[in-house]
């Protein structure tokens, strides 16, 4: 279980997180929705210690990430898999080497065991026929799938998805969502998905939290979020432009 307690983060004069309180239940898919530039990715980076809060706590299974350094932090990070917004595949490595990377760096498995496991994951995401391609040779959807295979390779307990469908067409968007759902059913990890794909995200999430103006304004089941009376949530879900002319 992940708990965020009064999480605050500023960048120079701009306060991005203003006291986020959120509990992410174990084994479920939790979606974090909110407007672009609202701090969702910043929030996600706090969950794995890539950013440190100015104040507040990030508790992963009761361990405060903000107090950890070095090996202790690495041990917690090994529980995580991350699918970054831009995929973050290593562009000098092939798809196979990208997916095998965490096993080569963090385990003592033999090369044949690594190859077997890597090919299994590549098959699971439908990329078994292109292990020798480089990221630059892949389409956007293929990159997402390769990044998902890499995030899944070491059987993490928690996977963070940072806008996994950004820049994809509606067919690929559904295919990536289906992939996340299938992988979740198969491996049973805790998933945190940052997204603004409304209403598609409600089909895969079991709980939804809306981040607005640096705080969680609503956190509930998808059905409850869809029928929420909160005007901020309603406006976001219906896509109505606000009175100040912002998109």
């Amino acid at each position: 279980m992940i708990q965020l307690i009064d999480l605050c983060k500023s960048f120079e004069q701009q306060q991005v997180l203003k006291g986020v309180n959120l509990t992410i239940p174990r084994g479920q898919v939790t979606a974090i929705i909110g407007r672009s530039g609202g701090g969702k990715s910043v929030l996600l980076k706090h969950l794995i210690g890539l950013m440190r809060p100015d104040s507040g706590q990030v508790l992963v299974d009761g361990t405060d990430l903000g107090r950890l350094r070095g090996k202790a932090l690495d041990q917690v990070r090994e529980k995580f898999g991350v699918l970054f917004q831009g995929c973050a595949l290593f562009d000098s490595l092939t798809v196979f080497d990208n997916v095998a990377f965490p096993l080569r760096e963090k385990t003592r498995l033999s090369e044949s065991e690594i190859a077997t496991r890597t090919m299994q994951r590549l098959e699971a995401v439908g990329l078994a026929d292109m292990p020798h391609k480089y990221p630059a040779e892949l389409s956007g959807g293929m990159k997402k799938r390769a990044a998902l295979a890499r995030a899944l390779i070491h059987d993490p307990q928690i996977i963070l998805f940072d806008e996994p469908t950004t820049g994809l067409d509606p067919i690929l968007l559904n295919s990536v969502h289906r992939l996340i759902l299938d992988a979740h059913k198969r491996f049973g990890f805790t998933a945190v998905v940052v997204s603004h794909d409304i209403p598609e995200i409600f089909d895969i999430a079991q709980t939804v939290a809306m981040l607005h103006d640096g705080i969680i304004v609503e956190h509930d089941k998808p059905e409850a979020i869809m029928t929420s009376a909160n005007p901020i949530v309603r406006q976001f879900i219906t896509g109505a432009s606000d009175q100040h002319g912002q998109e």
Binding site: L73, R77, A88
Partner: protein
């Protein structure tokens, strides 16, 4: 318009902060170099990139540097009737100064700029974040192999530069201008001492550190987007080249 004193103060603070960050980066690199495990395959890969792939440009610049030294040295020494000293003049100039400095400048221009750009692109495309998220230390994985490879490659490249340069001088001085081959090499052997070679080696070692340290630092803390990476790459080459030249003065003052 703001207070000029305030602007000066702000600039000084930024520079002091940058120097502090560079010193911490160097300290961190040193720490991760001695902490196991050693990324041996990564170091070999970087040795190939920094060393082997720089060898052709080193051969070319060394040959022409030696040739121009032979030419200029001959015409200057002839005024004093001392053409016999051409060998030591070329040898000492290359071993003490030009070999280490020009090899370092070539490595900064070729491998240093590429390293800064590579790490910079990895930073802006979240590849460094991905390493950290996988509990892989980016200093250990990216920076240490380049710095260790620089420390090994630059003295070797400098040695190649010196040898090729000396033969470039031989080609012009002996083959073209008629200085005796025996005189060229025997006078060189008489006047070039072990301390000259040791000084050149120490210089090249320190230049290897300066070039890889500055270039990896600039890439690691690059600005945003393509423009940020371009700026970081330029700054990496300019700063490492300037530092090599400044540090060379102090090394010469101390060593010879």
């Amino acid at each position: 318009m703001g207070n000029p004193l305030e602007a000066v103060g702000r600039t000084v603070l930024v520079q002091v902060r940058t120097m502090g960050r560079m010193a911490i980066f160097l300290g961190s690199t040193a720490l991760w170099t001695v902490l196991p495990p050693l990324k041996f395959r990564r170091i070999v890969g970087q040795l190939h990139f920094i060393g082997v792939k720089s060898s052709s440009i080193i051969l070319l610049t060394a040959a022409f540097s030696g040739m121009v030294l032979g030419l200029q040295g001959y015409y200057t020494l002839r005024k004093f009737g001392s053409e016999a000293l051409l060998g030591p003049a070329v040898g000492l100039t290359l071993i003490r100064e030009l070999g280490p400095v020009l090899a370092a400048l070539m490595v900064a221009a070729r491998a240093g700029s590429a390293s800064a750009a590579e790490i910079g692109i990895m930073r802006i495309t979240e590849q460094i974040d991905a390493l950290e998220a996988m509990a892989v230390n980016p200093m250990k994985y990216l920076v240490v192999p380049k710095v260790v490879a620089g420390l090994i490659a630059l003295p070797l490249l400098t040695a190649i530069f010196d040898v090729v340069g000396i033969f470039g001088g031989y080609l012009v001085g002996v083959e073209m201008l008629g200085v005796s081959a025996g005189t060229y090499f025997s006078e060189m052997r008489n006047m070039v001492e072990m301390s000259d070679i040791r000084g050149g080696f120490l210089k090249s070692l320190s230049f290897g550190l300066i070039v890889t340290w500055v270039c990896t630092y600039k890439g690691f803390y690059t600005g945003y987007g393509a423009e940020g990476v371009g700026k970081a790459t330029t700054e990496a080459v300019v700063l490492s080249s300037v530092l090599v030249l400044v540090w060379n003065y102090f090394m010469t003052a101390l060593l010879f």
